[in-house]
């Protein structure tokens, strides 16, 4: 029997890896992968808590919606990245800096 702590350990690890990825990467697609990791950590947390709370509905449904939303967000974000590539010729976020002040 796997305890809830094992699940929590994995999700915290996933969350921190995602956040680390977001902070250190300068490639836009790399950053988006980090965001996906954070969302997956949240989904896993939801399902684990739903299982151990004995209330399968709430958390499970939330996890399902999180998967859908992650896809929607990735679609919008990648469209924006394509438009950035057209304008700047690169998807490095540190080079796409016209706005300052």
């Amino acid at each position: 029997m796997i305890s809830i702590n094992s699940y929590l350990f994995v999700t915290v690890l996933l969350f921190c890896l995602g956040l680390y990825n977001v902070i250190t990467r300068s490639n836009a697609v790399g950053i988006l992968m980090g965001v996906e990791l954070i969302l997956n950590a949240a989904s896993l947390n939801m399902v684990a808590f739903a299982h151990f709370n004995g209330n399968l509905v709430g958390g499970g449904i939330f996890a399902l919606f999180l998967i859908v939303l992650a896809a929607a967000e990735a679609a919008v974000a990648l469209a924006i990245v394509v438009s950035i590539y057209r304008q700047f010729g690169t998807i490095d976020v540190e080079e796409a800096t016209n706005l300052k002040g």
Binding site: L32, N45, N53, G59, L69, I80, S83, I84, N98, L99
Partner: protein, 488 residues
Amino acid sequence: MKQDLIYFLPELIVSITVLFLFLLDCFIGKRSRRIFPVIAFIGIAAMMLANKSSSPLPSARFFSDMMVFDHVSVLFKYIFGLAGLIAIVIANGSHELEKVDKANYFTLLTALVLGMMLLANAHHFLMIYLSLEMVSLLSYILTGSLQGSRRSSEASLKYVIYGGVASGIMAYGISILYGLTGSMTLTGVAEFLRMNAVSKTALYTSVLMIMAGFGFKVASVPFHMWCPDVYEGAPTPFTAFLSVGPKAAGFAVLLRFFFGALSQTTTSGIEPIKIIGLPALLGGLSIATMTLGNLAALQQKSMKRLLAYSSIAHAGYMLLALVALNAEAVTGVIFYLSVYLLMNLGAFLVLIIVGDQLGSEDISVFQGLSKRGPFAALLSIVMTVFMFSLTGIPPMAGFIGKFYLFGSVIKSGHYTLAVIGMLNSVVSLYYYIRVVKIMYFDEPVDGRNLTTPMVSHASTVFALALLTIYLGLFWNGLANIVGQAKLF
């Protein structure tokens, strides 16, 4: 289920409008695109009428506790509707949006209004998260709607990255709160926290993480970084909407979260839960937000960035009222949001009128504006009204708004916070008055005169200015309506 639809009628009308606009886009040719803003306008106006007819209904929860109907949600729907209507008027005829596909722009704008309405009514964390994402995703797209513009693309990239991270952190926070309390509804969480003891650290962590998502929407420190860049890069008519609409929606959900989930009703009224120090957390956030906004605004050269930092500062003032967490705080925030809607949209509209004709968005474009012909002289007076109102100088509406905000803080006994808020208003005086100063005392850089813009822009800007003065003198009517607002 059937009676639930009565509460949902305003949202239903906007949903039908959005779907109709999407369908219309498939059947209508490129030449008759002018019909889209008209239909969007009619749809949102019909929503406000339906909202008026539903306002006498008693508070209720509907759709299996997913959403809630109360007076606060009615008031917020008015605010969103008004913001949407003015945004449609502003965007229709703006030079900046000439090349943007009208069908897409107005359809997505109407959908954004729908997302904000759902966010203000949400009672279940799933609903909160979904509607927050709906508002965010549409904002990303509309920010980047200027095709071929480097600034617009870059702004939307920054927006989507910050937004994605903030919403991810928020989802993780919600999952912790769900694990702690086993409940997904706001009142369910409050119920559990009243009955059971929970780990203080875990609750504090989850509240902080959830605040990441809300703080991102209202642009509060430390999630404000996107704000100046996005405001500068987005097309100005959309920036104007972004600075009031989604911000108001963010405050609606903040009010629901703190009053619904994290406070309890005692004999002396509503009080924040004792387990974690909410007033200290919110007070710190609020002071940091308003101070950073005001200090950064002092050194801006672009008018759009100045208004962006000023909108951060105004978010700080409104967060201050949340520290009080009493009935007056709800009144204060909603009153301030309605006033802020008028004066901020007004200031942006002046910038759009001037910027469209003189071709720049820097503060220097206002140099000697009062000497650029009769219409410009009139426009300078209007801009002065908005700037004074944003500072909070009587007899403008902004003063009354700040009076209610600081009043709720003083009533709850946080005198230091109120003093810091007032000191911040003094700092903001410097950069608002500087705009007024250069309009009247500087000479124009060239001899171009301002011509009268299209009727809809001119009449809207004057109507906003008149309302700003009117509410500063006769605020009782609005204050009475807002004062009766009850959450849940």
